[in-house]
Amino acid sequence: MPRATSYHRPTTIEGAVTLLAAQDHMALAGGTILNADDDPTPVAMVDLQGLGLTDMESGADRIRLGAMVTLDNLKSDDRVPDSVRDAARAELPSTLRTLATVGGTVAVGDPDSVLLAALLVHAAEVHVAGPDGTGGAPLANVLRSNGPCHGHLITAVSLTTGGTTVCESVGRTPADTPIVSATGRYLDGVTTVALTGVASTPVLIDPGDPTSGLEPLGDFRGSADYRLHLASVLTDRILASLKDAS
């Protein structure tokens, strides 16, 4: 049951940043997480739909995604790398994909997010606005910090395009949120691999030593040891696939 006590729809970044500076104000990107949360703590909703952050701008080897681009738009736009489109499609079913946004996905930092893994291997940068101005940081750093700082607003995510990408995953059923997934990208002699399901957020790993430093938390879908096993197996598979492709 939504816990909204007030609703705001700012039309400027500055207005949104000002609202989000208040302690009980939260950004409402798509609503698939916040509106589904049954935590009764009151929240003032700051709906970002009025900010116009829905554009995609593509360049020679980069594309910039407005934070309010929905996963459905991401899936459908052929300027977006196939791996990211596929991940956007796999992230959520049809009725939620039209609501959930790129910015919201980054802010939540779901450890099982295959979209975040795809963004990671595409060297995504997160652009934010805050009381102290605008800035950017690698997605990996943002995830490590558990999202943007309080009062800051994700305005866009940019990523590099090109290269060859492969994704392997293991779930209970074909469309299940993977227990562990591995997304790999080969570009200009460099292989990048990101895993889901092995840490508190999706992570980039060392392809030569995929489980190094990982201490996954197990749950009923997969124990810690099993997740580490999958990390090794799936990384091996994508490395083999990328080797074949290259």
């Binding site: 509106n35 049954d38 709906d47 079913p93 049809s94 009725t95 039209t98 009923f220």
Partner: protein
């Protein structure tokens, strides 16, 4: 606040609260097609179009929709007839309960707007957000293809079954080779295998459109929540956070003081009346171990208190304000541990009686046998013993439990409720609220799926208590989380088989030991475990059989009835066990079963000893005999469809280009029952109208199965009219005859026979009146067909003329008939279940590629609804086998009470699904029909398990086949 929305093409302004979801606003504005399934957007039942895109309105604030265009299904309802999209869903039978069909149609509208000829992948992707527990998405995919064609202006053919010639003579096996090509038709098309024993009929056997299709595809008010009530209050239940605790004190003063709260009830202010909640015939099996509100809670989610308030939000807040002091007691969850000395006693209270061994939590202990199993085991050439563990799952109807109760103008209590058992509910409710049965009326509207979960008097007493306390209508609707851990589930069990086999493959002894976990309350504990024994010991001929069973209390969420009712557990163990015996003996697995399975004329020698009232050992003079059995034809059709010959092809089983993949095919022999003999009873009443149409009143409960359609088809066949001439109404305890309800695969067989009998009463009188009009001396010579009564010499009078004459002109009378039926028989349907799978031997991931089920359900009354039953049943069975499980933490709290982590199959991941309906003539059934509703639940788990064994050589003994469990088995961990 105020929001402006362009709703279905009209600019409108609405007042709403900040926290209102768009779902709340739309339902308040009368958009009945937008339905509640969860608050997480996961079910898609509340999906609508926002700016032309499909979106779950339960996770959208109404405020977010301000200045947007919102489209609901009602936008298509501009005329009395159907929009082409609605017509496509109707023609293909792409709905059962129809609870979410509106969302599917809207999704189709959006999909076709972008692509007039979508691929199947795109169709399935669109459906991925709309969970359907009933159709397995097979017929919805066909409907969307048809809708696309209609919208393009293409010609479409009538959606009809594919009629197939039998491959066998019905008795003897045939060899099926790779040279036998399977029939070529879309999966949604039911394959009907004809039989010379089954005559062609006018209405029975035809793919008639569901009689409730219009109201469902148009999203018209149909379900419990759809009917508006003035001054409606909303109820919420405070539930236990502890698996086992004594309530030391409850302080409800703050809750009562909250503005908008009208009543707070708990054990301190409600009467302590013992009952058992299982919706079963009188007398309900003992022990009666529940009360509306107790001073002890026995599972996480157990009732503590309930509140009625002006809004659901106020009721929820009031629940949070109730201060409860608990004395936490030790808890036990495992069915084997609970019997040990020192385990916590779940029911020490003195007023719960008839517990067999209270100190060891054994509520029932049962034994039955034929012959001498121990002697037979000692003398057998081979003895095999295996133990299997089956887990706890939830029925997951997309419509949660919901009841609305109020006092009518005569101050009788009326309860409109989503129940499979309206008559049982009325009887069971009466003592709890200190009213007489005659002062209670229970109305069952359409139900958004039940699958056994609603064969329970689960929440009606709470709504009734609050309605009586407040003198206001009160609605209680469970949340999705409550549906998972506070409604009902399937019983976990530990099953051990000891089987004696002679060297020639003949079974000589079957010993089944069962420990069934009934959680904290008996509910259906006795009867489900009995059915496990019945189903686990009836499929095969064997002179020596034995059943020993303990039903035990624990502190898990309460198990109850779930489609299959103990059979899926039994057949997982039995058919896995039989597979392994065949493998160890080096015998063909189907051949081994064929050698032993029951055939026409065989006695079901232990069945009467495992009846509804419990196990018994008393020798009987007569034992039931199998009268019809189409299993050989089922096996042949299934083997051909699944290409069974690949099973022994090493190149297919280990594909060279995918070194970590192994493929396998699995089989399971399924045998179920049809109704409960001497117990299940249904009534029917029919009356003739002025225009020659008929009102048919039945107490039978269509919960989406198509029962109303099938029953109307039976009446139409007898009366010689079209299906649309039968107006069926079900069910209302004030209006319709008694019926035990929708369970035990009984409706077509029992209620259908009642309808057939009542129709014959009417038909007899119609012939007599027609004979009067036609001057014929022998009424029995008159035939009813084409809405007329015909003499042998070709003269006729229409039924309208008969009606007008009898109602208005000569010797006026109301032509009507009533009848009821109870059966001494329970003819078994049979089925062959096949599964194709791939196993990743490095990760343990199992991918199901194909499911084929060929079912002998007697004569199929309606091939579309029957095949839909099988498709949906297999979907649920696949979830049981593969991914679904209720997971509790160490304190007994469910850790995955949402569809994402619980995981039910979605449209975009379904394996190929194919259904064959093998016709046989069952002499005891209406027009030859047997049951079809539950047998699809029985075979998938063992067939998948056996396919995994075929693929990898690894045997697995517990469910579900999740990746880590399979990985551990593959590596002998």
């Amino acid at each position: 606040m105020e929001v402006s929305i362009r709703l279905n093409g009209n600019n409108q302004t609405f007042e709403c609260e900040v926290h209102d979801t768009l779902l709340t606003l739309l339902r308040r504005e009368g958009m009945a097609s937008v339905r509640f399934g969860s608050t997480s957007g996961e079910t898609g039942a509340a999906a609508i179009l926002i700016d032309g895109k499909l979106a779950s309105s339960d996770v959208v604030l109404a405020a977010q929709a301000d200045e947007h265009e919102v489209t609901t299904l009602e936008s298509l309802n501009t005329e009395r007839g159907l929009h082409p999209l609605q017509d496509a869903f109707t023609a293909t039978g792409a709905m059962q309960s129809g609870y979410s069909v509106g969302a599917m149609i809207l999704g189709t509208l959006a999909l076709l707007a972008h692509d007039p000829d979508p691929s199947e992948a795109d169709i399935r992707d669109m459906l991925s957000g709309i969970l359907d527990r009933e159709t397995a998405y097979v017929k919805p995919v066909a409907a969307i293809r048809r809708a696309a064609a209609l919208m393009r202006g293409d010609d479409v053919e009538a959606f009809e079954p594919l009629m197939l010639e039998p491959m066998t003579d019905g008795v003897n096996a045939v060899e099926v080779t790779e040279d036998d090509p399977p029939p070529n038709a879309p999966p949604a098309v039911p394959r009907v295998v004809t039989s010379p024993d089954v005559p062609e009929m006018e209405v029975v056997g035809r793919p008639e459109v569901k009689v409730d299709a219009v109201r469902l595809v148009k999203g018209n008010p149909a379900f419990t929540a759809d009917f508006e009530m003035r001054d409606l209050l909303h109820a919420k239940v405070l539930r236990s956070p502890h698996a086992h605790a004594r309530i030391v004190s409850i302080d409800d003063s703050a809750a009562r003081s909250l503005p908008g709260v009208h009543a707070v009830i708990h054990h301190g202010n409600t009467a302590r009346v013992k009952y058992a909640s299982g919706g079963q015939s009188y007398p309900n099996p003992k022990p009666h171990d529940q009360v509306s509100f107790d001073d002890v809670v026995r599972h996480v989610g157990d009732r503590v208190a309930a509140v009625a308030a002006e809004t659901p939000e106020i009721a929820a807040e009031a629940c949070r304000l109730i201060e409860v002091t608990y004395e936490i007691l030790p808890a036990v969850f495992d069915e084997l541990e609970t019997r040990l000395d020192g385990a916590p006693i779940i029911h020490p209270e003195e007023d719960t009686i008839d517990i067999v061994d209270r100190e060891h939590n054994v509520v029932h202990r049962m034994h039955a046998h034929r012959g001498d199993v121990e002697v037979a085991l000692n003398n057998a050439d081979h003895v095999y013993e295996q133990t299997f563990r089956v887990h706890q799952v939830q029925q997951c109807p997309i419509e949660p439990h919901i009841s609305v109760a109020w006092l009518d103008s005569d101050e009788r209590l009326v309860v409109r409720t989503a129940t499979q058992v309206p008559f049982h509910t009325r009887r069971m409710l009466a003592p709890l609220i200190d009213m007489e049965v005659k002062d209670i009326r229970v109305i069952k509207p359409r139900i958004g799926g039940g699958f056994g979960a609603k064969q329970e008097m689960l929440i009606e007493d709470i709504a009734a208590h609050l309605a009586i306390a407040t003198h206001r209508p009160v609605q209680l609707e469970l949340t999705r989380e409550e549906e998972f851990f506070a409604s009902r589930t399937r019983h976990p069990q530990t099953i051990t088989y000891r089987t004696g086999v002679d060297s020639d493959g003949t079974l000589v002894a079957q010993d089944m030991t069962l420990v069934g976990n009934t959680g904290p309350y008996g509910a259906h504990g006795l009867t489900v475990q009995i059915v496990t024994g019945l189903r686990g010991l009836t499929s095969y001929n064997c002179d020596n059989k034995q059943f020993n069973c303990d039903v035990v209390y624990t502190n898990i969420p309460v198990p109850g009835a779930y489609r299959g009712y103990g059979a899926p557990q039994a057949l997982f163990a039995l058919e896995s066990h039989m597979e392994d015996i065949a493998d160890d003996l080096g015998i063909d697995p189907i051949g081994f079963r064929r050698q032993n399975w029951v055939k026409v004329g065989d006695e079901m020698n232990i069945a009467p000893h495992l009846g509804e009232g419990g196990a018994s050992d008393e020798e009987l003079d007569e034992y039931p005999v199998v009268e019809s059995n189409g299993i050989e034809e089922c096996v042949a059709q299934g083997m051909r469809a699944i290409s069974w010959h690949r099973r022994s092809d090493p190149d297919w089983r280990a594909p060279a280009d995918r070194p970590h993949i192994r493929r396998g095919l699995g089989f399971a022999f399924c045998m179920h029952g049809t109704a409960i003999p001497f117990l299940d009873m249904g009534g029917a009443s029919i009356k003739l109208n002025d225009d020659g149409s008929f009102n048919l009143l039945v107490g039978a409960t269509d919960l989406g199965t198509g029962a109303d359609t099938v029953l109307a088809q039976i009446a139409a066949e007898v009366l010689g009219v079209r299906l649309e001439d039968i107006i069926i109404y079900s069910s209302d305890t004030d209006m319709t005859p008694f019926d035990t309800g929708a369970y035990a695969s009984s409706t077509t067989y029992i209620s259908g026979t009642a309808v057939q009998k009542a129709s014959r009463v009417v038909a007899t009188r119609l012939r007599e009146r027609a004979a009067m009009l036609l001057g014929v001396d022998a009424p029995e010579s008159i035939q009813l067909r084409d809405r007329s009564a015909w003499t042998p010499d070709g003269r006729s009078v229409t039924l309208e003329e008969v009606a007008l004459d009898s109602l208005h002109i000569n010797e006026q009378e109301q032509i009507m008939g009533t009848a009821s039926h109870v059966s001494p028989d329970s003819p078994p349907p049979f089925a062959a279940q096949f599964v194709e799978t791939e196993v990743d031997i490095q990760t343990g991931q199992v991918t199901v590629i194909s499911m084929v089920m060929a079912v002998d359900c007697g004569v199929t009354i309606n091939p579309i609804t029957a095949s839909g039953q099988v498709e949906g049943g297999m979907l649920q069975a696949l979830g049981y086998a593969h991914c679904e499980e209720i997971v509790l933490d160490d304190d007994g709290k469910m850790v995955n009470p949402a569809f994402g982590p619980y995981r039910i199959y979605t449209a975009d991941e379904m394996p190929h699904t194919e259904v064959f309906l093998v016709q046989t003539m069952e002499a005891t059934g209406p027009f030859g029909a047997k049951a079809v509703a539950e047998i699809p639940k029985d075979g998938v788990a063992p067939a998948l398990r056996n396919a995994i064994a075929n693929a990898t050589g690894t045997r697995i003994y517990d469910l579900p086949f999740t990746p880590e469990r399979v990985h551990r088995a593959l590596n002998n961990v």
